[in-house]
C-alpha cells in the first residue's frame, strides 16, 4: 500500500470518475450521524496524539476530520480506500476540543464501503468472514473452539494446552449458561436465535453480507431461512 504523504494535493485515484467519488461522499454525508460527529477542526492534533493507530500506521484522525470538513472528495475517497481499516475504534480521538468524533466518521465510511462492495474492503474483511458467520448465526462474536494454535500461534503454548483440555475445562465452569459450551460463548435459546435472524432479515443485514462475501451470504441466508421456516411450522 502506498504511504500517506502529508499535505499532498494530487488526486491518487484519477481513474475513478469524479461522479463516483462525489456519490460516495454524498452517501457518507447523508448519514444522519454525520452532523453529530463533525463540527469543524482546529488542526490542534489532540486526536492524533491520543490515537493508537497514528503511532503504527500512516493514519491520522485529524486528516479525516479535515478532509470531511473541506468536502475534499478526492481525499475522502483515498481515506475510504486506504485508511479506514487502520482505525482501532477506541474513540480516544473524542478528546477533540471541538467535539468531533473521527472514529464515528470512520464507522460511517466503513458502512458505506461495505454497502458499496468496495473491493479493498472485501479484501480486508476476507480473513474476518468466519467471525461474521459466528456472530450472525450463533449470536456470539467468538467461541472457545476458535482458539486454535494455527490461528493464535502468537498467544504462545497456552493455546495448545487449552486445545487439549477445552471440553473438560468448559465443563469445569460453575456458571450454568457457559458450562460445556464450546461452539459459542454461552448457551442461547433457539427461540432467541430465531429472533436474531428475524432482525438480520428485517433490517437488510443479510443482504449486506452479499457485498462482503457472496459465499458467506448464501450460507447464512439459506441456514437462517431454514431455521425461520422450521420455527413458523412449529408455531
Amino acid at each position: 500500500m502506498r504511504a500517506w504523504e502529508a499535505g499532498k494535493q494530487a488526486d491518487c485515484y484519477p481513474h475513478v470518475a469524479r461522479e463516483e467519488k462525489e456519490r460516495l461522499f454524498r452517501e457518507i454525508k447523508d448519514d444522519e450521524r454525520y452532523t453529530d460527529y463533525l463540527y469543524g477542526c482546529y488542526e490542534c492534533g489532540i486526536c492524533v496524539s491520543a490515537c493508537p493507530s497514528a503511532r503504527f500506521y500512516n493514519y491520522s484522525p485529524r486528516v479525516i476530520a479535515q478532509a470531511m470538513a473541506r468536502e475534499d472528495t478526492d481525499r475522502v475517497y483515498e481515506i475510504l480506500i486506504e485508511d479506514i481499516w487502520n482505525c482501532a475504534q477506541c474513540f480516544s480521538c473524542t478528546r477533540c476540543p471541538r467535539q468531533n468524533n473521527p472514529g464515528g466518521l470512520v464507522s460511517i465510511i466503513r458502512e458505506v464501503a461495505v454497502r458499496n462492495g468496495i473491493q479493498e474492503t472485501r479484501d480486508v474483511l476476507q480473513g474476518y468472514s468466519r467471525v461474521i458467520y459466528k456472530v450472525m448465526l450463533k449470536g456470539n462474536q467468538v467461541s472457545p473452539d476458535m482458539l486454535q494454535p494455527e490461528f493464535f500461534a502468537d498467544w504462545g503454548t497456552w493455546v495448545e494446552g487449552f486445545t487439549k483440555n477445552m471440553r473438560e475445562w468448559r465443563r469445569a465452569i460453575p456458571l450454568e449458561s457457559l458450562r460445556g459450551v464450546t461452539d459459542a460463548s454461552w448457551r442461547t435459546d433457539h427461540k432467541t436465535l430465531v429472533e436474531l435472524y428475524t432482525i438480520w432479515f428485517e433490517t437488510g443485514n443479510v443482504e449486506l453480507i452479499r457485498e462482503v462475501d457472496e459465499g458467506l451470504y448464501e450460507l447464512l441466508k439459506n441456514t437462517m431461512e431454514e431455521e425461520l421456516e422450521d420455527a413458523e411450522d412449529e408455531d
Binding site: E32, R33, A50, P52, S53, R55, Y57, W85, A88, Q89, C90, F91, S92, R95, S107, E111, V114, V124, L125, G127, Y128, V131, I132, V135, G139, N140, Q141, V142, S143, M146, F152, D154, W155, G156, W158, N165, E168, W169, R171, A172, I173, P174, L175, E176, S177, R179, S185, W186, T188, T192, E195, L196, T198, I199, W200, T203, G204, N205, L208, V212
Partner: protein, 410 residues
C-alpha cells in the same frame, strides 16, 4: 488573571487549581440528560423506560449527575469475549453476587450486542444494531430483571445506539415495527449499567468480607476506552478518587481492598485491542499493548498486576505478553479483571471460580505475594478435570465453589 511574566504565579495558580479535586455542577453539564428525554418519550407512549429496581445505590458521573446502580434483581448481560475466552471473569462477577446473597439471573435468552462485530467490520447498520439492543432489553424486562452489562463494548455501544434511538423518530418507528414482529415491547433501561459500576458501588460492602490482605500489592489499572470515551457522561467519576480528573472505576474498588494504585504516563492510551485487529491483524495489537502499555508500566511502576474492567483489554494485555517475552521485551505483568481480584480478595477458589488457568501471563508470583497456596487449589482443579475426563464427574457446579476456600490472611 493578571500575571507578572516570569514570576511563576500563573503556573502556581494552575498547579494549585490542579491540586484541588474536580467537582462538577450538573446544572452546567455540557450535554443533555438522556434519561429526561427517555421519560418524555415514555410519556408520549413511544417506549417503556425500565426503572432501576430497588434497592439501588447512587453514584456521581462525569458531569456531576447522579446515577442509580441496582444492588440486585439483575439480568446478567454476558460478554462474548469473557464467556468464550475468559470464563473466570464472568464466574467471578456472579460469584460475588452469590456471596452477598443477591437475586440475579443468568439468562440464555440473550445474544451478543454485536458491537464488537460492528466496530470490527462495519457490516451492519443502525437499525440492526438498535433492534439487537432492544431485543435484549425487552428480554430482561419481560423476565422481570434489570440488565447488568458485563462487556465494556456492549456498554459503550448501547449508549451510542440509545442516543440514536432517542434522537431519530424514523429509527424508533423502524425498531418498533421489528419489535412488534417479535411480539416484544420497545424498552430502554433508565440507566445503562456496567458490572464494574456495580463492583464500584458495592466496594465497601464487598470489602467487609475481604479475607486476603492486599495492602502490600501495587497495581496499575487500565480503564476501557468504550467505558469512558463513548458517551462520556455516563462514566463514574468521584472527586475523592484520582481527584475526579479520571474515571473512578477500578481504582475505587482496589483502594477499598487496600491495594495501592500507581499512576503511569500512558494511562489514557487504548490497550491496542482494535476489534478487527485482535482477530486478524494482531501485529498492531501486540505492538501497541507491549510498547505503550505493559513496558511503560514496567519501566515507571513495575506493578504486581494490571487490573482492567473489560473483555478486550484483558485479552490484549494478557495474551500479547507472550510474544513480547519471546522478543526479550520488558514484559511480565499478570492481568486480572476487577471482578477476579475482588473474588480472590474474598477467598474465591482461584481455579474453580477465578479460572486462572485461562490466563497466559504468569500469575504465580502474585499468588505467592498474596500468601495463596495456589498449587493446592490447582491440584484440586486438576482432579476435577480428570474426573470429568473419566466421566466420574459431570461438571464443576456452584455447590463445588460457593464457599470461600482460601485461608484468611487479613
Amino acid at each position: 488573571m493578571k500575571t507578572e511574566p516570569g514570576s511563576g504565579s500563573c503556573i502556581q495558580q494552575i498547579l494549585q487549581k490542579k491540586a484541588q479535586p474536580v467537582r462538577r455542577d450538573p446544572a452546567k453539564a455540557p450535554t443533555h440528560d438522556v434519561r429526561e428525554e427517555l421519560f418524555e418519550l415514555e410519556a408520549r407512549g413511544e417506549l417503556i423506560v425500565h426503572r432501576v429496581p430497588e434497592p439501588y445505590l447512587e453514584v456521581q458521573t462525569k458531569f456531576g449527575r447522579t446515577k442509580k446502580i441496582p444492588v440486585e434483581h439483575t439480568w446478567h448481560h454476558k460478554s462474548c469475549g469473557q464467556c468464550g475466552h475468559i470464563p473466570g471473569y464472568s464466574s467471578s462477577i456472579v460469584w460475588l453476587h452469590r456471596q452477598l446473597g443477591l437475586d440475579y439471573v443468568d439468562p440464555t435468552d440473550q445474544t451478543s450486542c454485536t458491537g464488537w462485530n460492528y466496530y470490527a467490520s462495519g457490516a451492519s447498520n443502525p437499525a440492526a444494531q438498535t433492534a439487537v439492543m432492544c431485543r435484549n432489553f425487552a428480554a430482561a424486562y419481560q423476565a422481570g430483571y434489570y440488565p447488568l452489562i458485563h462487556c465494556g463494548t456492549s456498554y459503550g455501544h448501547y449508549k451510542e445506539v440509545r442516543e440514536e434511538l432517542v434522537h431519530h423518530q424514523h429509527l424508533r418507528d423502524e425498531v418498533r415495527r421489528i419489535m412488534d414482529k417479535l411480539n416484544k415491547p420497545l424498552v430502554v433501561p433508565e440507566e445503562i449499567v456496567h458490572y464494574s459500576e456495580w463492583v464500584h458501588a458495592m466496594r465497601h460492602r464487598i470489602a467487609e468480607r475481604q479475607v486476603i490482605d492486599m495492602s502490600h500489592i501495587r497495581a496499575c489499572i487500565h480503564a476501557a476506552c468504550h467505558y469512558h470515551k463513548i458517551v462520556v457522561e455516563d462514566a463514574i467519576y468521584d472527586p475523592n478518587i484520582l481527584k475526579g480528573e479520571r474515571t473512578a472505576i477500578i481504582t475505587g474498588v482496589l483502594q477499598a481492598l487496600g491495594i495501592t494504585v500507581e499512576d503511569y504516563s500512558t494511562w489514557f492510551d487504548c490497550c491496542g485491542f482494535g476489534f478487527r485487529h485482535i482477530l486478524v491483524e494482531r501485529d498492531f495489537t501486540r505492538s501497541f499493548a507491549i510498547s505503550r502499555k505493559i513496558e511503560v508500566m514496567k519501566r515507571e511502576v513495575n506493578p504486581d498486576m494490571v487490573v482492567v474492567q473489560d473483555t478486550g483489554c484483558y485479552t490484549t494485555l494478557d495474551k500479547s505478553q507472550f510474544i513480547g517475552k519471546a522478543h526479550q521485551r520488558d514484559v511480565g505483568i499478570p492481568a486480572f479483571s476487577d471482578a477476579q481480584i475482588t473474588a480472590l480478595a474474598l477467598g474465591a477458589h482461584p481455579f474453580r471460580v477465578v479460572q486462572m488457568h485461562w490466563g497466559s501471563t504468569d500469575w504465580r508470583p502474585l499468588m505467592a505475594k498474596l500468601g495463596i497456596d495456589w498449587q493446592t487449589y490447582k491440584d484440586e482443579f486438576d482432579a476435577d478435570v480428570e474426573a470429568i475426563r473419566r466421566g466420574d464427574k459431570k461438571a464443576v457446579t456452584w455447590e463445588d465453589c460457593d464457599a470461600p476456600v482460601v485461608t484468611k490472611t487479613k
